[in-house]
């Protein structure tokens, strides 16, 4: 089937199989390898992208279901500069191996769009769908707080 999607601001018309997942289109057809695949049961969150501004695990969505949608991946998040969530992740040392990081950053971006000033409970709930094996999460939680502060500052 043919689908039309907008990925990181660019319109794409693509031929996909019915069984093709959104994450496969991003990685294999569009070469956007910043979106990672860490499991096959939709639990690790490494493949999280924004679909029409909402965090979605790109392994849970068929490419066909994304027809007509606007997709943002880690490569398109900051444009020429860095998004405040990206800045917070490096400044707080919220990544080690970096494999979960793109999905984490997209989930946190989605979380902060829902809760610009999140409580600890909202942060933990917002990260529940993303696994990290390296950091123990403390610095990721610190990065969420820092990014929220930075975004509130820039919005004011």
């Amino acid at each position: 089937m043919n689908i039309s999607i907008e990925v990181n601001g660019k319109a794409q018309s693509l031929e996909v199989e019915g069984r093709t997942l959104l994450v496969e289109v991003l990685r294999e057809q569009l070469g956007l390898t910043g979106t990672h695949v860490g499991c096959d049961t939709s639990q690790c969150g490494c493949c999280t992208v924004l679909v029409d501004g909402q965090g979605v695990k790109a392994c849970t969505m068929l490419a066909g279901q994304a027809d007509g949608c606007r997709i943002t991946t880690i490569e398109g998040l900051g444009g020429q500069s860095l998004h405040p969530v990206q800045v917070a992740f490096t400044e707080c040392h919220a990544l080690q191996c970096g494999f979960c990081t793109p999905g984490m950053i997209m989930s946190v971006t989605s979380l902060l769009s829902r809760h610009p000033n999140p409580t600890d409970e909202q942060i933990i709930e917002g990260l529940a769908g993303n696994l990290c094996r390296c950091t123990g999460y403390a610095n990721i939680i610190a990065a969420v707080r820092q990014a929220a502060g930075a975004m509130a500052g820039s919005a004011a």
Partner: protein
């Protein structure tokens, strides 16, 4: 192909914690599955569905005829191409002069299969989907045989024999120390305690699933293997042995690695299969595991049972320690499993304590499970877990304060260097300092009031500590070497063996250079495993990279300083003055710069990271759910180079230990099927499980290496597994629960609290 990692970039105004970070936060890193060679074919592995079976008949004709299929490899093809088995890294002499019997894993099974997930064949096709579709047409007939799932079953008289060369499924009966002296001490000891820990089987779970790509160049005869690794030279050697291809014809390339924890130091069948396939087919061949197949095929961790006994005098002084261990090797010996079961458990079996008599005996046993290999700590956390929970058990049994019992048995500062009763030499540790500070930070003395306050809210509080000591990796090769060259901009590139998987080598090594040479860290790069350079060294593992390769970098800096000084004097620099390298080197010509190239070499053995961790927990008895309310870690990791990275390693390690204590468990059913074969059944720690680790380091420098560091990679979990377990048992014992194995899942805790339910 886009097989070159994205160049380092950074943007002004951002305070990057690490040099590695920019590419990783922008999605421009180069993990193996991100590499896309042109014309790449895709492998799919057909695996055993049975724990133990005879392969009766293999008909792959329909697979070979399926659309897109280029080649189907079975054991026959592997053997024809010169391939064999995946190597075992260590053997040890056994008790009473016996010899270890080793069974290594064939690249592809022939005749029989011995665990669910064992590779039987690989299909190579144009696309991954075609390879998988074709694999479903395989017609393989198995005759199922009775499996041995536990080490006890494997050691029972009349148990099925898994390997003809291994009678009784016993690979090695290892011993260390003096059995007689320990027996005599126990015979006269007034107080004794015995406590068994089962350090359960775990799935290591680096977030990046295992991936390999091979690409053969017919002109040069060299096959390039792209794969995550912990250091390319060890990986290359093992792939050469297993594939039968001379090492000179293989080049291993590792870029970004999505976690290792010990699981990326040894090759798996797929490494060998893609190399053979790429050479046979003349096209690149790649394979990336799905998480489900990684669960059933990647070497698992822990799987050790340590049955400990302690003999005490009336004042609580330790007279002797004895451990009787059972090591579940799984179906084959993989990589360092014998090292874990023998050396790593025994070298620090006395822990932080002065123990006159020590004895350990360990049975290394084959079962029908995924092979066991290194996982964060590789035996070190397990022995610390056994010692520190045994002491708590003894304290409870005989009415000692657990803090006092430790304090009176610490090796005192004046006793260093201290040689243990089984021959390990500790250089210098300051156990009282870490203990005192941890007790202070955690307000240990105020616990009773907190427990009573929690009890009024219907909650069960517990507090526990661990005064761990571990031996970091001795190194598998005689020395670590690095080479350094300057480019025309005056940037120093250091080439070494050890490869990072999140530790931040690029950052820490640059910091060492800045401290040693005054060259800004931003002018230093690190490249691991560069082809064509004759480098010797260890991979990342055993917490040893910072001081192993780091000491070689200190040496490298000394050479560069000497050579720069000579060149400076020759070119008219004033006597007694030294050049500012950052501004001087870019002004040199190529020949002058070449004279600054140098090699650094250092031999560094084991160090002894140690510390005191205190955990405080609160159980909700209505649900069995436990919260960690306080976690304090005071560690002696030697000199700290990058404080932020050290705390990051420590927090990550503490939480991996939390995973073992509270949720992770690889469970096999009675037929040898892995019941916990996906994230639906195997729980990993999530955000918030330990909100904060209050961490301090006392930085007692060691003289055992040039950096003065002791290592941090494994300290976190080595401390947290016993500290958290002791905290849980502190709460549970008050409720009449005498003993309980990890993991303390909510359901198991609730059942322990409600035995009649």
């Amino acid at each position: 192909m886009s097989a070159v990692p994205a160049s380092e970039t950074s943007l002004p105004g951002v305070h990057y914690a690490r040099r590695e970070d920019h590419r990783l936060i922008t999605g421009t890193g180069a993990f193996t599955d991100d590499l896309r060679p042109d014309q790449m074919l895709h492998g799919h592995v057909i695996r055993s569905p049975h724990a133990r079976a005879r392969i009766v008949r293999v008909d792959l004709s329909a697979v070979r005829a399926a659309p897109g299929v280029h080649w189907v490899m079975t054991a026959e093809e592997v053997i024809q191409q010169g391939g064999g088995s995946l190597p075992n890294s260590f053997t040890f002499p056994g008790r009473g002069g016996t010899t270890q019997q080793v069974a290594t894993m064939p690249v592809l099974a022939h005749g029989q299969v011995l665990f669910v997930g064992q590779p039987v064949a690989m299909v190579v096709a144009d696309t991954a989907a075609q390879a998988q579709d074709a694999a479903e047409l395989a017609d393989i007939e198995y005759e199922e045989l009775e499996p041995v799932v536990t080490p006890d079953q494997a050691l029972a008289p009349g148990a099925p024999q898994l390997h003809p060369n291994v009678p009784g499924n016993l690979s090695l009966h290892f011993e260390s120390g003096d059995e007689q002296a320990v027996a005599e001490a126990f015979a006269r000891a007034p107080l004794k305690s015995r406590h068994r820990v089962h350090s359960q089987r775990l799935v290591g779970f680096p977030m990046e699933p295992r991936a390999v790509i091979a690409s053969h160049d017919a002109q040069t005869g060299i096959t390039r293997l792209f794969t995550p690794s912990q250091g390319v030279t060890g990986m290359l050697k093992s792939v050469a042995v297993a594939s039968g291809i001379p090492a000179e014809q293989i080049d291993v390339l590792t870029y970004d690695v999505g976690g290792s924890f010990g699981l990326r130091s040894n090759p798996y069948s797929e490494h060998v299969l893609v190399v053979l396939a790429a050479r046979h087919l003349g096209r690149p061949v790649g394979w990336t595991g799905t998480r489900s197949e990684v669960f059933v095929s990647e070497y698992q961790g822990r799987a050790l049972t340590l049955d400990g006994s302690v003999a005490l005098d009336r004042d609580g002084r330790i007279l002797a320690l004895r451990f009787d261990d059972t090591i579940d090797l799984g179906a084959f010996s993989a990589g360092p499993s014998s090292l874990i079961g023998a050396r790593n458990l025994s070298v620090t079996m006395g822990g932080s304590y002065r123990v006159p008599a020590l004895y350990m005996n360990s049975k290394l046993v084959y079962t029908n499970a995924v092979p066991m290999a290194a996982y964060r700590g590789a035996g070190r956390p397990d022995i610390a877990f056994a010692i520190e929970t045994l002491l708590d058990h003894a304290a409870h049994e005989h009415g000692f304060d657990p803090v006092v019992l430790r304090r009176i048995n610490f090796i005192p500062p004046e006793a260093f260097p201290y040689k243990t009763a089984n021959g390990t030499l500790y250089d210098l540790c300051e156990f009282h300092r870490t203990l005192d500070r941890a007790l202070e930070l955690s307000d240990w003395a105020g616990f009773d009031a907190r427990r009573e306050a929690a009890a009024r809210q219907g909650k069960l509080r517990g507090i526990g500590l661990a005064c761990y000591l571990e031996a970091s990796g001795a190194g598998a090769v005689p020395a670590d070497t690095v080479q350094g060259d300057f480019d025309e901009q005056g940037q120093l590139t250091i080439y070494g063996v050890t490869g990072a998987s999140g530790q931040g080598h690029e950052t820490s090594f640059a910091t060492i250079v800045e401290q040693e040479l005054g060259l800004p860290a931003s002018r230093v790069r690190y490249a691991a495993g560069h082809h064509g350079r004759a480098l010797m060294g260890n991979g990342t593992g055993g917490s040893r990279t910072l001081y192993g390769a780091g000491s070689a970098i200190v040496e490298l800096c000394a050479r560069i300083r000497e050579q720069a000084q000579t060149l400076w004097a020759e070119s008219g620099g004033a006597a007694g003055s030294a050049p500012d390298l950052a501004t001087w080197i870019p002004r040199l010509d190529a020949a002058q710069r070449a004279r600054l190239s140098a090699e650094g070499k250092a031999q560094s053995g084991s160090t002894f990271p140690n510390g005191t961790h205190v955990a405080e927990i609160e159980i909700d008895p209505a649900t069995g759910i436990t919260d960690v309310v306080r976690y304090v870690a005071v560690d002696d990791l030697g000199r700290v180079i990058s404080p932020q990275l050290v705390i990051g390693q420590l927090q990550g390690g503490v939480v991996q230990g939390w995973g073992q204590v509270f949720c992770e468990h690889a469970i096999y059913d009675e037929r040898g099927q892995l019941s916990t074969g996906s994230l639906m059944d195997y729980a990993l720690p999530k955000a918030g499980c330990i909100p904060t680790v209050e961490a301090e380091q006392i930085q007692a420098r060691t003289e055992l290496n040039r950096v003065g560091a002791k290592g941090v990679g494994e300290a976190g979990c080595t401390g947290s597994i016993p500290a958290l377990t002791n905290a849980m048992m502190n709460a549970l014992r008050r409720q009449g629960v005498a003993a309980m194995d990890t993991p303390f899942t909510a359901a198991r805790v609730w059942e322990a609290l409600n035995p009649a339910a």
